[in-house]
Symmetry: C2
Subunit: 207 residues, 2 copies
DNA sequence: ACAAAATTGACCTATTAGGTTAATGAAATT
DNA sequence: AATTTCATTAACCTAATAGGTCAATTTTGT
């Protein structure tokens, strides 16, 4: 059904997909405009509808497409045998950055999908959402080693604070990536900076 | 110009203002719909236009109105003589929660105003924005006491992490407030929980 | 030179945009 | 009780935009 879109040369395809993800993520299904998507993708609306037959199917296609990507380039690659919270964070966020470099709106899009209540797509989404459950269940951050935390700390609170703090750093990176059109994601540099922050947290929360 | 709106009984006025703040915050000036605002406020569109003469003036009015509130109920109330970072955070965020209880979208709205590039309101906003500069300059978190931090820490990084972490907690409170229609903001309870998190940070980052 | 594929401008109908107007319903004044 | 005033709305206006189609053109491969 979407072979035409999928057979495009990768760069082109990603431009179109990213334009759609951005618009849908920003405005939700109902308020997103196919005109805006086409313009952002740099093609005519007619050509877009040559690739995607209609708005609703496009939206649903994107959802499945994104789930596949998130699974293959994120979920499946996390090494769950690593029990150190900071190592786990390092791993997951570096993977996340890599995915976001290619698809800057992918996580916002899936978030919008989760919270959408648009009548037009609600039913179709409900069927598809089941697939996600198994993955949200396997919590990335549940099974970690708490033996290294300082003994006077409330570990649950501390973990939460650490996630929030790192989430803040990730958001900053994300904003940089989005504001710079040709942001050259220097993973090594990001990795070093990230390590800097993780080290502060290690010094603070570990004995 | 907006006496009619301002002379309404407070509850009613706030309903209308909050409906508008929510819609403008969510969609920006251009994409926000006056129909949606009226519906969310629970009044007819005609009545709304009886209060506010037009969309643009309403938007600009809201901006000034919000700045006033933020100044009077937030900026001016912060005790800048308190130099302990955690006390300062406690103070500012408790004030923020109080403001957000009354106007749950006020900070999102001002954020949208800052980043809007709508031709329709750009020029008018530019004039008004100057007023804000003086306040953004006086940085709430610049002048704090760093002597109590553990000596092996990079204080700048640590401060940043603390802000991110507390920002995460604040977002959680905010989401609770918004999801619960009749959220009874129990400041005492929030204060206690907040203190819990601040204490973990104190134990971690202070010697 | 020609067939096939890629691409677009012009167009269709339905809906929504911001906003006005005349009429109604309720309160206040005489 | 009659009348003036204020609060409130339904119906309506025009312009723009929505999703989507289609015939025509441009580009590509042979």
């Amino acid at each position: 059904m979407f072979e035409k879109l999928l057979n495009l040369e990768p760069k082109r395809r990603e431009e179109i997909i990213n334009a759609a993800l951005k618009e849908f993520a920003a405005k939700g299904f109902d308020d997103a405009s196919t005109n805006v998507i086409a313009k952002e993708a740099g093609i005519s609306k007619s050509l877009m509808f040559h690739y995607v037959n209609n708005k609703k199917d496009f939206f649903l296609f994107l959802y499945e497409y994104c789930l596949e990507i998130i699974k293959k380039e994120y979920f499946y690659l996390v090494d769950l045998s690593e029990k150190d919270i900071f190592e786990r964070l390092r791993q997951t966020y570096m993977l996340k950055v890599k995915v976001l470099k290619k698809y800057p709106w992918i996580f916002d899009f899936t978030k919008v999908v989760v919270f959408t209540d648009s009548e037009a797509v609600k039913n179709e989404l409900d069927e598809r959402r089941k697939n996600l459950d198994e993955y949200s269940l396997l919590n990335f951050y549940g099974d970690i080693d708490i033996s290294k935390f300082r003994e006077n700390l409330d570990v649950e609170k501390s973990k939460q604070l650490i996630y929030w703090a790192i989430g803040g750093y990730a958001n900053q990176i994300l904003e940089e990536m989005r504001s710079d059109e040709n942001y050259k994601a220097d993973y090594e540099k990001i990795g070093i900076e990230f390590n800097g922050y993780l080290n502060e947290l290690r010094k603070s929360f570990y004995k």
